[in-house]
Symmetry: C3
Subunit: 269 residues, 3 copies
Amino acid sequence: MTDTPSPVATRRHGRVLEIVLTNTPRGYMNARMAADLLDTVRRAQADDSVGALLVTGGLEGVFIRHYDVGEIAQLSTALAEGKIGPENFDKGSNVLDLIQAMLDSPVPTVAAINGMCMGGGCEFALSFDMRVAQDGDYRIGLPETRLGIIPGVGGHYLLARLIGAARATAAVMRGAVFAPQEAYRLGIVDELVVDARARGLELAQEYAARPRIGIAATRRLARMIEAGTPQQEILGQTAREFAGTLIDSPETDRLIARFLDHGEDILAD
Amino acid sequence: MTDTPSPVATRRHGRVLEIVLTNTPRGYMNARMAADLLDTVRRAQADDSVGALLVTGGLEGVFIRHYDVGEIAQLSTALAEGKIGPENFDKGSNVLDLIQAMLDSPVPTVAAINGMCMGGGCEFALSFDMRVAQDGDYRIGLPETRLGIIPGVGGHYLLARLIGAARATAAVMRGAVFAPQEAYRLGIVDELVVDARARGLELAQEYAARPRIGIAATRRLARMIEAGTPQQEILGQTAREFAGTLIDSPETDRLIARFLDHGEDILAD
Amino acid sequence: MTDTPSPVATRRHGRVLEIVLTNTPRGYMNARMAADLLDTVRRAQADDSVGALLVTGGLEGVFIRHYDVGEIAQLSTALAEGKIGPENFDKGSNVLDLIQAMLDSPVPTVAAINGMCMGGGCEFALSFDMRVAQDGDYRIGLPETRLGIIPGVGGHYLLARLIGAARATAAVMRGAVFAPQEAYRLGIVDELVVDARARGLELAQEYAARPRIGIAATRRLARMIEAGTPQQEILGQTAREFAGTLIDSPETDRLIARFLDHGEDILAD
């Protein structure tokens, strides 16, 4: 996009693609980072050799601090001058498209939260399949109402998926931010660890080791469940999807045969 | 309503309205308390100078013990004699209208649970945005099935919003009541503290400090989320609501300008 | 079904029916166990003298290890040879019918998880009203994707009811299994105890002591809540169901009268 180096760097670890975010000096998300991230995520999702996505922060103590408030002030001015309208926030926003791409990801996603993770950075983190937080003295949350705004790309909805709509609404209205220990207690992050990147990589490698056929069937069922499909329909579709993973899947046949030959440590380790 | 003093008293703390419930000697909720509470809540919600509601119990060790079972026995007799019908429980019930008023509150609400909080008192507490419970030897929960009845004003639904429908159903069928520590572990209350009223007042003051524009937008999104609106629609509406908080909002402009001038402690404190 | 002894045995404790599962030597669920369980559960549900169902494992350290993978391999072969189709997994499957029977149970259900509880065994356990897990060195979870399959009888949906759709999807994709302590922290099991069967029996006896009228009304409301019925409708129906438990219910009248005579220890014990 520009000549300055991208804040989005990547590294491969077998089937895991690690994305490192380094927007010096403060670690904000901004339009440039969102555009580069969206591009990187979409290319990874189209690449069959990528089995899981891991995202972490490249600055000490920062995952993504929050969205660049200076850019928000510019948007406010542009709105006031009639140069853009509310529709520009909905259609064609790279940040919103990024959240959508994460939610629809054919590839499982893990956020290694190594530090500050507020506002737009937290919204992004909430769109992952798993969040591993490093223990430490920093904050995770959605403080937007303190500035008279709200989380702009779905933070309220994404938080509701994790802690329920009532609790999410209370947290968003309050502009609440949490220490990592409290975020863990509330279920906003899944694990609290000494080294978020190291543990995140382990989890991403677990995901990357799973056959795609089961991941894809699970994503389809997830969409039905999240859409509030009636119970009977979900159970019926589950049974048919299960049958589907047994049909024409040499990988499943091979894994079942190996299991029957070698015992079940593979299931309980 | 009558000449006896109301069990519902109020006190102002800046933009916070504190409501203290003192129904001697046992601390039951009854028709009188429900009528006075409904009136007080509705007037507070119509008053722009009120930024948050705090409710606590005025009797030592009691928030609201439970609904007055003597009144329930009278209702049962009136039903048996055909003087009232099931429709009287649905339309024109002050207790049900009170729960609705809490759920639709334009003003954030905090329950400072300082003691016994069962049955109808617990249903009321579950309708708040946040619940702070004082540590101690008392019970929080819905024991109705022990008497062959059920929570009558939405307790099952309100508990499901906090701990999920399956767990709420199991608790209601069992008539389960919980010590405050266990209610905290389950997510029925949000904080467990030494002094519920003091902490509740702090939280209410945080809510009261937030600009109304963000609170109102968050309530609108909450209704969409709770109604099971499709994800794409919620995300789109979120982006437009975000734009809305930037348009014609001098308070937002002022807060963003102050943030850009003075740094970000305002977000992470 | 066959001449070999059934893996499903029963014992009565007053109004509680205990079901003990003993499929030597490994403790798998298989077609035989599913058929016998379905039959036992349906008969108990039709028996007015049964007030609660308790299920536990009869083998040391095993609730149900998981579904017999050898049988799954046979199904895979039968599918490949065209002898059965995906529709056979949906209609007329005893395992799926068993899950449905548990979810629609007029009688509350308690799983006493005394050991290994994975795959199909975990799916079954997730269909109960309550789960009590014995502390110990074993695993609870859904490792199916490790074999290239998915939970086949609703495990993903059932887990989502307990820990939310997003977290359930992440766990199923990963094929995650949990130690009992972690399953307890996540809310997959409700209590973590030294003796699962003893505590499960206590809970089942609590359920069995509740009048059926309140249980039945609660189940009807649970179906409305889980189906995503609009809030207003649920609250109205709740009020009418409450009135219903007061009408023509001599047991409710008797319990309320006893309460008014003897005080309220019955509610808070």
